[in-house]
Symmetry: C2
Subunit: 361 residues, 2 copies
């Protein structure tokens, strides 16, 4: 494989995340990587409208291009990473493709499906590889949930609840402004909805969603989106930014058991039925009063187990990208999957705005 050079447009938090991952190593996805991550990929330089970030670039051993044009005009640059506010993704990606670069775009790739279709068309016309950094497909909590689903560890799963809770509202930057593509649906929804589509096979038949506006009037600072898949599974994707006590990151209900993961580190437990023959409920007196239905089970019929172990390596994102450039693999984050997720977010937006259930696929 030949060597590839990457340049970063927008050296903010996420732009610098890519620089560190590729050039320096560090902690990523709970794992420490030492030094350069890839033999054949380097960050050559960056461009940012913020002078302090230009200085930061040179201080960290990469070139600070004097302008976007200079960056795009450098024949040594093979790949452009765009990590700018969301409304600038489309123009930046189109320019980079027109300049003959392969492109990795930060999420959310665009503000709507119309923009994304333009970007996909441009990549086809340019004959360049274009993908989106849906990095949370490599999160171990998600992969643990997916393994539980795929391997029917709880029997057939009938409901999945995927929650991301924080208590700081929306950061006080462009993320609070609708014209820049702010709001939690685009910011975090794009991850956890993408995970839902990756995990569950088949169509999403309908969507019901509500938005919250607790700390912010202009964009949603949280949402609840209930997806009903054609196999009957209901998938709740929920983001909250006024949650001072968090509910678990994952709650998975199968016919034979339940899995709970507390947070992004895949710690939690599975409780499964070991003996379906003993299911007779004896009414018990709880603080709740007499209840037969809600009487807890005993060790006779259920067993607590650890979550299954999964391994993941976020560097596989770039490994796959380079191999796709060389025609040896297909994109791990396909443009079809990104478009589908964008269409899903539009259905969710429509449901939240109208208050109605929206048919999807």
């Amino acid at each position: 494989m030949r060597n590839y050079n990457l340049a970063i447009v927008g050296l903010g938090g996420m732009g610098n995340w890519h620089r560190e991952l590729i050039n320096e190593g560090g902690w990523f996805g709970g794992k420490k990587f030492e030094g350069k991550s890839f033999e054949n990929l380097s960050v050559l330089g960056s461009y940012d409208i913020d002078q302090s970030r230009q200085k930061f670039a040179t201080e960290h051993g990469i070139k600070a291009y004097a302008s976007l044009e200079a960056l795009l005009g450098d024949p040594a640059v093979d790949i452009v990473l765009t990590s700018v506010p969301n409304d600038l993704h489309k123009p930046m990606v189109l320019k980079a493709l027109a300049a003959g670069k392969h492109v990795v775009c930060e999420k959310p790739v665009a503000l709507n499906s119309g923009e994304l279709r333009e970007m996909i068309d441009a990549s086809k016309k340019a004959g360049k590889v274009f993908t989106v950094h849906q990095n949370r497909r490599w999160d171990e909590d998600y992969l643990t949930a997916k393994k539980i689903y795929d391997e029917k560890i709880l029997g057939d799963v009938f409901r999945i609840e995927s929650r991301v809770h924080g208590s700081r509202g929306i950061p006080g930057d462009w993320r609070g402004l609708p014209e820049h593509g702010g709001g939690m649906l685009l910011d975090w929804g794009v991850h956890i909805l993408d995970q839902a589509l990756q995990m569950i096979p088949g169509k999403v038949k309908k969507v019901h969603a509500t938005f919250t506006y607790v700390t912010n009037e202009l964009v949603d600072d949280g949402f609840y989106a209930e997806l009903t898949f054609e196999n009957g599974l209901v998938y709740l994707a929920e983001v909250g930014t006024s949650n001072f006590v968090n509910l678990p990151r994952w709650y998975i209900l199968g016919r034979d058991g339940t899995a709970l993961m507390e947070n992004f580190k895949p710690t939690g437990k599975i409780v499964r039925v070991t003996d379906w023959s003993k299911n007779d409920a004896v009414p018990i007196r709880t603080a709740a009063g007499l209840t037969k239905t809600m009487a807890p089970r005993t060790d006779e019929t259920i067993k607590e187990e650890a979550l299954p172990a999964v391994k993941s390596d976020i560097r596989d994102f770039y490994r796959n990208f380079l191999k796709t450039i060389e025609g040896k693999e297909n994109l791990a984050v396909s443009l079809d999957s990104v478009l589908r997720n964008m269409l899903l977010m539009e259905a969710i937006l429509k449901s939240a705005k109208t208050g109605e259930v929206v048919a999807f696929e």
Copy 2:
């Protein structure tokens, strides 16, 4: 106050609960009551179609009437408690009212609002006091939640999640049969929806609900009902019977904090903002990757507190009933409130059946 005698139609689990409360004492709502609960109320006898329960009655010092007619015809009986399968509530209540008795009916009072209207009309015609044993209005977990809401301990509350989780499916008796009024909406929904209507003032504008049929095809063995109140508050009422790990009984989100109660015993915590001026989020590296929005708060801005204490006495239900008979109080569980709850359950049923959002009040 004169002395009142009560007779029980249907001496099953709940029928006997009333017998014990009134005649013997025991543990109720997490509290121990010694001996007779009321100076002026006694259980005189009962009737049950099950011979073993007739025997149980005499063994426990109350009269086992030979027939329903014998019970209703006994002039010593002032009050009839009906604790029979749900489909029999209406005929039993109508007979008891026609016999000139005051009536306490177990929940759910009827299978639908049409039945309930007939029962209400009959009580007016008979001039007798008729109410429903919505005992969970006296649950301390509910009253704690209500206090948090009423006193704005979390600031303005924008979302309440009220969950009841078990893992035994539906008991293998009439509760699994639609013709007897089975299903979790009628069995447990009737409690937690009643609590929602009691807690939040104002109209419920719309309802969205889904049912589960995990262990049972004929009736819902769980449901999710999202109520949107006219003040904007969203109230999720959820019952699950295939939940091997429970989510907390209560999760309450206010602008200034969050409350969580683990179970029916009001144990849990409140986390509140103490300093709104320090809200600047610094991006942090978590196992989740870089996140600014979901960075946890520190002790500088938030404080953990105990839940507020509430006191409750389930015996107040009967104290109020007797005083209502004597014209000194109004019913704690008014027939209007019971009818409203039944109409709400009908809207929920419609939403679950059609898959649509249903306008309510």
